[in-house]
Symmetry: C2
Subunit: 321 residues, 2 copies
């Protein structure tokens, strides 16, 4: 019987990574994951051991394994959990984040959308007649930035992995969404009103983040968010999975090749970033009079008069910098 051997110690391997043409035992697989994260952090200049990092955590495998990796690498990382008000899913996911942080003595910042911003995601999406994932993304980006700025964090990290980024890039290319292409980088530097944003998991696929979480016995929420229906993002992931299975390294090549060779050509395409001013309500930088978040919030809450504006317009969607 053929037994895969660990690339490092030649012991029995537990996992093969075809795009690296390598297999690893448990110990060296975990080490490999940490190494890949540290390599992304260093090579892209994401942050140093002196920086206070805020990591957005959902209770899923990616964000919790990243928190674990960063803590083990000695970085100063607080978690940020945003309660979106999505029934059992939210109740279970916050529980995983609390257990994780208390077991490690790490700081978890919790923000509840309903009590702090007056709405939950399903209601807001319905009232604003906006797609749920879009409503959620807009809300999370605003809150993450807000908490990071007010908490004097140097950088905001998210758990987007290689599969996520490759699929988003794929979609941006299929639609030649130039603004999004210009912004699709693992590091977006701080600028007036926006905290620096980084994605330290870009060198790990989701099969690897899941394996890491299982091997490190991290109790994460396995279920996908129940609001995510069949969307084009998942379709692009499926297509990339088909190509990856035939040519291991396809996603790596697409996304990291973009960063190496393609991305710099699109620097000029981020026009929205050049023309921002303070939102009339909250003061956050926006390309519109009132930022997309405030428009959504006013629509979704009864406490303040509704504005006569249309949500979901392109201009407001560029606010996330």
């Amino acid at each position: 019987m053929f037994v895969m051997k660990c690339r490092v110690c030649r012991g029995r391997a537990c996992l093969e990574i075809r795009r690296h043409n390598a297999a690893f035992c448990t110990e060296h697989f975990l080490h490999h994951c940490r190494q890949q994260v540290d390599r992304a952090v260093h090579s892209q200049g994401m942050f140093t051991h002196d920086d206070r990092v805020l990591l957005a955590v959902s209770g899923g495998k990616d964000s919790l394994m990243l928190w674990d990796v960063l803590l083990k690498l000695g970085y100063q990382v607080d978690g940020l959990y945003i309660g979106l008000g999505i029934g059992d899913y939210s109740r279970e996911s916050v529980g995983r984040c609390r257990s994780f942080s208390s077991e490690r003595g790490a700081c978890l910042v919790e923000v509840d959308m309903v009590s702090q911003y007056g709405y939950d995601i399903p209601t807001a999406a319905s009232v604003a007649r906006r797609a749920t994932c879009s409503t959620c993304g807009l809300s999370k980006r605003y809150v993450m930035n807000d908490v990071a700025m007010k908490g004097d964090y140097v950088v905001l990290a998210t758990g987007h992995n290689l599969d996520d980024e490759a699929a988003v890039l794929f979609g941006n290319l299929m639609h030649w969404n130039m603004e999004a292409l210009a912004r699709q980088k693992p590091v977006l530097d701080a600028k007036s009103g926006f905290v620096k944003k980084v994605k330290p998991l870009i060198r790990l696929g989701e099969r690897e983040t899941a394996a890491y979480a299982v091997l490190e016995r991290i109790d994460y929420i396995v279920e996908e968010c129940p609001m995510v229906a069949d969307n084009t993002g998942l379709r692009y992931k499926d297509v990339l999975n088909v190509l990856e299975s035939k040519s291991p390294g396809t996603k790596h090549q697409l996304y990291l090749g973009y960063l190496d060779r393609g991305a710099s050509y699109f620097d000029d395409a981020d026009s929205a970033a050049r023309d921002v001013h303070p939102c009339g309500f909250c003061g956050s930088p926006t390309t519109a009079e009132i930022c997309a978040f405030c428009r959504l919030q006013r629509l979704a809450t009864d406490e303040q008069p509704k504005l006569d504006v249309v949500c979901g317009q392109a201009a407001g969607d560029g606010d996330d910098g």
Copy 2:
């Protein structure tokens, strides 16, 4: 029973084109195809009715239907058939081209690789240890340009359709092949030693070119070239077909969106085009000392001494301008 109606005359439709959200009867479908070709020719400034056009024809649906369309639109188009020496496939395909041209009183230029250049494609690929499709592409590009230049044609046209171009673009993006991205345009202007090259079929998918050929009773060779095995180009076509079936317009959006919004960003990436000089043998412009075609020809023929060069190097592959 639901009967599709022609968008133009409301008569019974024979074909639906989902990406245009339209259906057509035979007459108006044929008119639609000619209109799409004429639109590409005009909007991209490919050629005028005063220009002598050389169209590369293989005997397949795309090149023969394009010849038919261009003749019906009143353009001056001669065909160029290149005999590649691929057994029955070559014998059958030249027959279709001869029948087509004689029925229409059009001029067909024939070039036989073996008698005029001393080698056939299968032998050359084997001797040069180069992939067959790559050997064939290199040979055809050289011969097409050579015949067009010597015959004083203003422009060389090829029958690449929307499916072809979308799949090639897809592959160039997956690999971030910057040189190829910079050159992937439906019009490459003439420059020292290179004739102007155009692709008038970029607005028609291969389902449409096939339907046109059938409806116009064009006798084309249905078989694919027997040398084409499963290659990544076909894999990309499969993937795009999956996406197209779920979202009609995917290929159009990818390729024509690239031309509209993406392509101009890559103008600087065509470095090979800037540094060419005459080939030491044939005088054609090349980035190497001896052009890739001459290197291949010397390897593939016994008539001249073999050169001590390696075929298939990247530098030589940029010769097609």
